[in-house]
């Protein structure tokens, strides 16, 4: 059974079809990438899975259980965590506090939760900043905090929304290593990303979305040589005949 099943999901905003009859299956422990030109509907699809939107049509199920239209907090309780493209740290609180908010879904004991949070911060190499206020962090650290917070909920599946945007190349490599480490820990990862070398190198499979529809799916090699994909990104003239 697939870990995450997206069946014929559509999301309409009035007349605009942001996501159009999208089908996707993600296996356990895969790193599955989603790419597409700007405005193609990537985040909207994510939000349909994460509970921010309810799909207009179609179903989403996780490990066989239907999660279509569930609220974000219930989705989190199903062990699906997500990060946001525009990071949303609790700015006036410390890194540790931010992470503890995530960990509180696993326990109500403050001391236990503190230990869980510290553990996550160690693994993500943010432990030194634990007492820094989130608003004083660099952008790279903020993105890492976003990841740490999500990981503190101990998810089985992680939705990463452009978590590498704006990072320098060496920072991107660090994040890639962290993502691989998370997958090795048994988590399935569904990732949206624009930085091509990053997503190509880390994903097991990739789907391509364009104007809300899936136009290709396969391994990174298959997708990067796919005519439709090249046409969508670069235009007709770049398609090798």
């Amino acid at each position: 059974m697939a870990e995450l099943e997206i069946k014929n999901v559509s999301k309409h905003f009035g007349g605009l079809k942001a996501v159009d009859q999208f089908d996707l299956s993600i296996e356990k422990n895969q790193i599955f990438g989603l790419i597409g030109p700007n405005g193609a509907g990537k985040s909207t699809l994510f939000n349909c899975v994460a509970g921010v939107y309810a799909p207009t049509y179609g179903q989403v199920s996780f490990r066989g259980d239907e999660i279509t239209g569930m609220k974000p907090w219930d989705i989190c309780k199903k062990r699906i965590a997500r990060t946001f493209q525009l990071v949303k740290p609790f700015k006036m609180k410390t890194v540790l506090y931010n992470t503890m908010v995530g960990a509180y879904i696993r326990s109500t004991n403050p001391a236990e939760v503190r230990d869980m949070a510290l553990d996550v911060l160690e693994r993500l190499k943010l432990a030194d900043e634990k007492d820094t206020l989130a608003k004083n962090l660099t952008i790279a650290d903020r993105k890492r905090l976003e990841l740490a917070r999500a990981m503190a909920t101990d998810p089985e599946m992680l939705l990463l929304d452009e978590c590498m945007a704006g990072l320098r190349p060496n920072e991107v490599d660090e994040v890639l290593e962290i993502i691989r480490g998370i997958r090795d820990g048994g988590v399935t990862i569904f990732v949206i990303e624009h930085i091509m070398r990053a997503i190509m190198s880390v994903s097991d499979r990739i789907a391509v979305i364009h104007f809300g529809k899936k136009i290709a799916e396969g391994t990174p090699e298959e997708v990067s040589t796919n005519d439709k994909v090249i046409k969508a990104y670069l235009g007709e003239s770049y398609v090798a005949t």
Partner: protein, 337 residues
């Protein structure tokens, strides 16, 4: 002497002073003033649970004070029920009402919540002012209710002001403790998170609306207790005094000026502002009616423009500076990152 030691000493002196106040302030008139000060501080601390943490602006909290006062008094007069029990009953009723109002409105944007609480608060005032009898219960409309003098502990009435002082002091301490304790357990974290970044909090498993409703319930319960206390202290209350926009707004503004979302903010706000209001009302109201409200408005605006986190921020910095100065500490300049 280290800074920490001085800090501890000052705090101990404060606590001892406050707890032994009646011993060295024997005038009942002054004691009454302090009692009312602590009463305001208690109410603002209770208000803070919704207004500070849940991140929304309740502007009708006086309704719950009224619910508390009227419930315990009416039950005492009609059934001879001890106001102590009536106090709890009033609190529970207020919590239920607050939750009913909160459930639809706390899901919405802040403006809707603020307006709904305003409308509800005014609605309660208008209703009580125009109702002489509610079923078998006499509410007496605008004339208010007078509590027959019958001094005894079970009747929550005392000849001297001293017991009242200790009761409100204990209530204030409990309110502060509840606030402090909540901040260290899950509900506190969730409320803070939900108030600051609701979307992020939701993705972390927080049903933000539900926690706001819980905070509302607790806050309304606590606020109602203040109503009963007031009734028993003054032995008389009427709708215009306890209900209505003026008191609701005053509570909100005092808390905001002191610093919402902090432990000390509401208390500081109450202790600083109430005397100003009373002072200007006593001395100026004959010559220039309403001057105290003008001063109030100006203070409000200045604080909001220049110290939006409330006066507790500069005051804590000042306290910190004072401690350093007194203990001869040399402090390195804070490096701004």
């Amino acid at each position: 002497m280290t800074k920490e030691t001085l800090d501890k000493i000052l705090k101990i002196v404060l606590i001892v002073g406050v707890f032994t106040l009646p011993l060295w302030m024997s005038s009942p008139a002054y004691l009454q003033i302090v009692i009312l000060l602590f009463w305001y501080a208690y109410i603002t601390t209770s208000w803070n649970m919704v207004g500070g943490w849940a991140g929304v602006l309740p502007l009708g909290h006086s309704a719950y004070i009224g619910i508390g006062a009227y419930t315990s008094t009416v039950l005492a007069i009609h059934y001879g029920l001890s106001p102590w029990i009536g106090m709890v009953a009033g609190g529970i009723l207020a919590a239920i009402v607050g939750i009913i109002i909160g459930i639809p409105t706390l899901k919405m944007r802040g403006a809707y919540f603020a307006l709904s609480t305003m409308a509800f608060g005014e609605g309660v005032r208008v209703f009580v002012e125009n109702t002489d009898k509610l079923g078998p219960f006499v509410l007496n409309g605008p004339r208010g209710i007078c509590i027959p003098l019958q001094e005894s502990f079970t009747n929550f009435q005392f000849m001297s002001k001293v017991p009242y002082y200790y009761i409100i002091l204990i209530m204030l301490c409990i309110a502060l403790f509840v606030t402090w304790y909540m901040s260290r357990i899950r509900i506190g974290y969730y409320l803070n998170a939900g108030g600051e970044e609701p979307e992020a909090a939701q993705s972390l498993g927080v049903n933000v609306a539900r926690y706001k409703v819980i905070a509302m319930g607790i806050s309304c319960f606590m606020t109602a207790l203040a109503g009963t206390f007031y009734a028993q202290l003054m032995l008389y209350f009427y709708p215009k005094g306890l209900l209505g926009l003026d008191l609701s707004f005053e509570i909100a503004f005092i808390s905001l000026i002191g610093g919402r979302g902090t432990l000390a903010g509401p208390v500081i706000g109450a202790l600083l502002l109430r005397p100003v209001t009373d002072f200007s009302r006593i001395y100026f109201s004959s010559m220039l009616p309403g001057l105290h409200l003008v001063i109030y408005g100006v203070v409000l605006i200045l604080v909001m423009l220049y110290q939006p986190r409330g006066l507790q921020a500069p005051l804590s910095r000042f306290y910190d500076w004072f401690l350093n100065k007194m203990t001869g500490n040399v402090v390195e300049k804070e490096v701004k990152s």
